[in-house]
């Protein structure tokens, strides 16, 4: 039961390379499938890279290891990011990514239940990941297992009442092995998140709900990795990391342009994007 065996501990430079590679693949997949949510997938690449290449105690050769850390992509619409990360980390062959959205495949536009190694929970409907994470974190406590549970949420997802039910529950249960990361890219599907529902002040909200809440530049991959790795952090509380991000991060003409919530890039745009990312 060695979960350390498959754990990566990359330095910042290597983490940035991993994030760049994720971005390149995510853009390719969106183009090939003509699928939406590219902006959302790009904004969380650094967080996902930090998780899979530095923080998580996981073993890709034994994805169901009981002692593994759990990472729930609660913002399931960023599926291409987690699909790519899991493939690159060896949970399944990379060529499986080519089946994304294809008829008869396993890789739909949101992560599936019980059919893809490394996907901890089926998500896509927002506000489900944190309650499930609560259950997993409590199960660890009941069973005397010291694994940690991470849930990556979007800022738009914080519209859901279930998020705040779950936040209060985690605080009441002092789930210090639980960590939420909010990919705070300031946009939801069709509008600025803070103009839709009053989200701000977001860190203070989590703090008021009983969490140890911190803010970080969500693209400072070293800082994100350090915060995520430091769970539990000694506060006796669940940890909320409010990660300030840019939707569409990494490609100049996608950054902070919410059209990329739905648009898929053309072949030419893929080439330009890869050049900008230094992948070409």
């Amino acid at each position: 039961m060695n979960v350390e065996a498959g754990t990566a501990k990359l330095d910042v430079q290597s983490l940035e390379d991993a994030a760049r590679r994720l971005r390149g693949k995510v853009i390719e997949m969106s183009h090939a499938a003509g699928s939406a949510h590219l902006g959302s997938s790009l904004s969380c690449c650094d967080i996902v890279a930090a998780a899979y290449w530095h923080v998580l105690r996981i073993d890709p050769t034994n994805p169901k290891n009981e002692l593994r850390d759990r990472f729930i992509l609660s913002k399931g619409h960023a599926a291409t990011t987690i699909y790519s990360a899991l493939a690159f980390r060896g949970f399944y062959p990379e060529h499986l990514l080519e089946t994304y959205t294809k008829d008869g495949g396993k890789l739909a536009e949101h992560p599936p239940a019980n059919s893809l190694p490394g996907v901890e929970a089926a998500t896509g409907s927002l506000g489900h990941g944190l309650p499930i994470g609560n259950g997993m974190a409590l199960a660890g406590r009941i069973k005397g297992q010291s694994y940690r549970v991470y849930a990556l949420m979007s800022d738009g997802e914080c519209n859901e009442g279930s998020v705040w039910e779950a936040a209060m529950f985690a605080a009441a249960q002092k789930l210090e092995n639980l960590c939420v990361i909010i990919d705070y890219n300031k946009w939801q599907a069709t509008a600025r998140s803070n103009e839709t529902l009053a989200l701000a002040p977001l860190r203070e909200k989590w703090e008021a709900f009983g969490w140890d809440a911190v803010e970080v530049d969500g693209h400072d991959i070293g800082a994100v990795a350090a915060l995520m790795a430091n769970v539990p952090n000694g506060s006796g509380k669940p940890v909320a990391i409010v990660a300030h991000t840019v939707k569409g991060k990494g490609v100049s003409f996608m950054e902070d342009d919410n059209n990329w919530h739905y648009r898929a890039p053309t072949a030419e745009e893929v080439v330009i994007s890869h050049k900008e990312l230094g992948l070409a």
Binding site: N114, A121, A122, G127, P131, L138
Partner: protein, 307 residues
């Protein structure tokens, strides 16, 4: 049923370390014994049913066997999406236990009535729907549910209902109906807390010379097809009886089975609640009378159909 649930839960908690109790802030003192023995496996999840159902799913996905419990509408329709996605889609072996099925809490008004839950949960893939008829069937259902690797919904009445069985029925299986009384003219398929009313209906029929088989048809999904096939081939009248809407409950399930299987029927009656909210104050017995679910009303309707 409620007290039997708490008592059986305590036993199951002793027997099986995977059992975890989640309560939606109800059952004041009901779980004292369980809690005394298993404080680390009891969680009052508050009035936050969406989170509670997600927590249950997360625990079940981590190898535990959570039981999520609160009043029927709040453990079903209030968190239906969590049941659908977190529990059913992920095949998480959560046991959902509802108290106050149908018109059990008639006096609390339509917010607390539940005549749609069978319909909702029956339509969800991977879900089994069990409606125990008395306290002993509640215990049996809990034990049977714990043996499953899939979600199970147990729809209880309230407390203090008459006991029909005298012990846990040894032959209780999910998806296998129990014959309570034999008869030769009509077959009464009762689900859940209607059974005492149905036994009384059979008594009234007997007085008028009609012999009724009474069945505790406790599992609405999956259907006991063998029981149905035998009933429809042998009896000149078959009736389904439920404290639930005629839309989507046992009567609907049996109707679908008849149509899909091109089953030849003689007389088929469905007793259930109408497509409307019950807006009057009053307790369960009064509601049943008003809704045509009293033994007297059902016996008359059956006699009329036989005439």
């Amino acid at each position: 049923m409620r007290n039997a649930f708490a008592d059986e839960l305590t036993k199951l908690g002793n027997e099986d370390p995977r059992v975890v109790m989640l309560s939606g802030d109800i059952g004041n003192r009901l779980f004292d014994k369980y809690r005394a023995a298993h404080e680390d496996r009891f969680f009052n999840c508050g009035v936050a049913e969406q989170n509670m159902m997600g927590v249950a799913a997360g625990m079940a996905m981590s190898g535990l066997r959570p039981i999520a419990y609160t009043i029927t509408p709040f453990i079903t329709s209030r968190c239906l999406e969590q049941i659908r996605v977190d529990v059913c889609y992920q095949e998480a072996p959560v046991i959902i236990v509802a108290v106050g099925a149908g018109m059990s809490y008639a006096g609390l008004g339509p917010t607390h009535h539940s005549c749609e839950d069978i319909s909702f949960l029956r339509s969800l893939p991977n879900m089994k729907v069990v409606c125990p008829a008395d306290a002993w069937e509640v215990r049996a259902a809990m034990r049977a549910a714990l043996q499953q690797d899939n979600p199970v919904y147990i729809r209880m009445g309230k407390k203090g209902e008459p006991k029909i069985h005298s012990e846990i029925p040894a032959d209780f299986r999910i998806g296998k109906a129990l014959t309570i009384e034999e008869g030769s003219d009509v077959c009464l398929l009762s689900t859940g807390n209607m059974l005492p009313e149905v036994i009384e209906t059979a008594r009234l029929l007997k007085v008028q010379g009609v012999s009724a088989r009474v069945v505790s048809y406790h599992t609405v999904k999956p259907l006991d097809e063998e029981c149905l096939a035998e009933a429809f081939s042998r009896f000149k009248l078959v009736a389904t009886i439920e404290e639930h809407s005629l839309i989507g409950g046992l009567g609907s399930a049996v109707s679908e089975w008849i149509i899909d299987g091109e089953v030849k029927t003689q007389k088929f009656l469905r007793f259930g609640t109408p497509d409307s909210f019950f807006r009057l104050s009053g307790e369960q017995e009064y509601a049943r009378e008003q809704l045509g679910l009293s033994a007297d009303h059902m016996a008359k309707a059956i006699m009329a159909a036989l005439a």
